[in-house]
Amino acid sequence: MNFSLSKEHEMLRELYRSFTVQEVKPLAEEIDEEERFPVETVEKLARYGFMGIPFPKELGGSGAGNLAYAMAVEELSKACGTTGVIVSAHTSLCAAPIYEFGTEAQKLKYLPPLAKGEKIGAFGLTEANAGTDASAQQTKAVLQGDHYVLNGSKIFITNAGHADTYIVMAMTDKAAGTRGISAFIVERGFPGFSIGKKEKKMGIRGSSTCELIFENCIVPKENLLGKEGQGFKIAMKTLDGGRIGIAAQALGIAQGAIDETVKYVKERKQFNRPISAFQNTQFELAGMQTKVDAARLLVYRAATLKEAGASYATEAAMAKLYASEVAMEVTTKAVQLHGGYGYTREYGIERMMRDAKITEIYEGTSEVQKMVISSAMLK
């Protein structure tokens, strides 16, 4: 077992860090405050190959693999959870299913612009009445000649307001249950497709989370992803991969909070001493960093397994379960160690705590991760 990174991964980390410090961190507070999608950052992410990290160069990607991708989301999220999830949802939830389940024609048409970041991707599964119970899809797709007609709506869709390409699940055969769900590639601009209400959120406020509305939306037949009835399987496999991204986001938020806290406790003086001199501070930090390191090992294991083509669903669920819970715990402690200042918006620590919470919820709640992990144990 080898715990050291390759030279290229070391250099990638250097790139991710300097990009994050110079391009992402300066905007983090502003985009949170203004609930603004960081268009200018996404353009730069695209220019330097961050929007297609795991995909082959022939398809417009960077050819760097899943560990390199997870590390990118981690480093970006150290300064800004919003930027982390933009890359994660785009890569894992839209580009990845096209790469893994698309036909040659679909891959050639849709993947290069996504992987180059010329277009942004999103994924629509969740509905008002289909959250954890994703099989309760009400959006319908009916085949009419050379196209499908979609009717229904999706909610809580990350990147929705700024995306160009959407992976959308819809029922093609209600009677068949989960085997009646199909996946479609929907483009912004397809007739009958519109973006609805934008959510006001607790955290990751710069990410554009909106409703997708389909009113007799015309989707060409060739935009069916996989076969009819495979949509649920595609969605679940896509989420397996997405969990690595969200776990990496949680990991980054947690490490970012620790890094800020270490700086702060050395500067902040109480009782004529920096608060880092108190054993409570020292022990809290030790516990926080140990858990974050454990989370990192879980995330990198899942990413490395996916890269190797091995099964990784359980490991991805473990990584996401643990990293998100650690992120919530660590950011809460980071606010506590910052005291009153931590509760203000001045230090960005409360933002990290708000951003951390969503990682326990989206792309499968912690409870869903436990279902995935235990079902593999008990089968």
Binding site: Y48, S62, G63
Partner: protein, 263 residues
């Protein structure tokens, strides 16, 4: 257009510390980077590549660890990387260094050679100009801006000096030295890093591959003899006056006049 960029890997610090006993640089624990002036030169070369499709070779003399600086240059977009590394190159002063680099450059085709103004760990600003002298080509130092003229046979550069700047037209082949202020270097790209390690190579050349007198390389070939290196002692504390801004300005002006800094 063929461009050669000469770079140096330096410790990432503006305050190079010296070992008080041996007088050598303390490098332990300090990460290495591409010297800022050189990185600006590389960026200038890569911009010419973007504009005109120039071929960019990066060249450095250094220990085997300098491989990383060259990979970084490849990851930013350079086409070819050459590392001059040999124990016999060690301890070279600027004369021996420029001779070694010039000997390597003689083996290649080039229109333009770009070197950074000076290295943050040596501050001599001599290597670039000496390379031009040894190759008998024109040189312009302290370049802050450049444009290629139609026909791609010459460039017009903006050469900065204390009181202003010169605009100078210089024909290829020539050498310029660049200032860090010239531009903001691009990041490496993710795909570029993968290519730097998996598709491109860093060529390693030793003294045996260069057409130069081996006695002129490294410490042996260096006419400069360093008698002593030392860290400057801290200055004496200045004088402090607590007074109104007007009176303070007068005090400062008098002090400057006293030292003939202003008339």
């Amino acid at each position: 257009m063929k461009i050669i960029v000469c770079m140096k890997q330096v410790p990432d610090t503006n305050e190079v510390k010296l070992d008080p006993v041996t007088g050598t640089l303390i490098r332990d624990g300090i990460p290495s980077i591409i010297n800022h002036d050189d990185k600006a030169g590389l960026e200038a070369a890569l911009c010419l590549k973007d504009q005109f499709g120039a071929h960019v070779t990066v060249l450095t003399m250094g220990p085997p660890q300098a491989d990383k600086a060259l990979r970084e240059a490849l990851a930013m977009g350079a086409d070819r990387a050459i590392l001059l590394t040999d124990r016999r190159f060690a301890g070279a002063d600027t004369w021996a260094t420029s001779l070694t680099l010039a000997s390597a450059i003689r083996k290649m085709d080039y229109d333009l050679i770009i070197a950074g103004r000076q290295a943050i760990d040596g501050d001599t600003a001599q290597v670039g100009p000496q390379i031009a002298e040894k190759l008998s080509i024109p040189q312009v130092s302290y370049v802050e801006d450049l444009e290629v003229e139609a026909g791609q046979a010459s460039i017009i550069v903006k050469r900065i000096f204390e009181e202003g700047y010169h605009r100078i037209r210089v024909k290829f082949p020539c050498l310029i030295t660049t200032l860090a202020e010239m531009n903001t270097p691009r990041y490496m790209s993710v795909g570029g890093i993968m290519a730097a390690y998996n598709e491109k190579q860093v060529e390693t050349w030793t003294l045996d591959q260069l057409d130069m007198n081996p006695d002129h390389a490294g410490l042996k070939g260096s006419p400069t003899k360093v008698r002593k290196s030392f860290t400057k002692a801290p200055k004496a504390p200045g004088k402090k006056f607590n007074t109104e801004p007007d009176a303070a300005a007068r005090l400062i002006l008098d002090a400057l006049k006293e030292r003939f800094i202003v008339e």
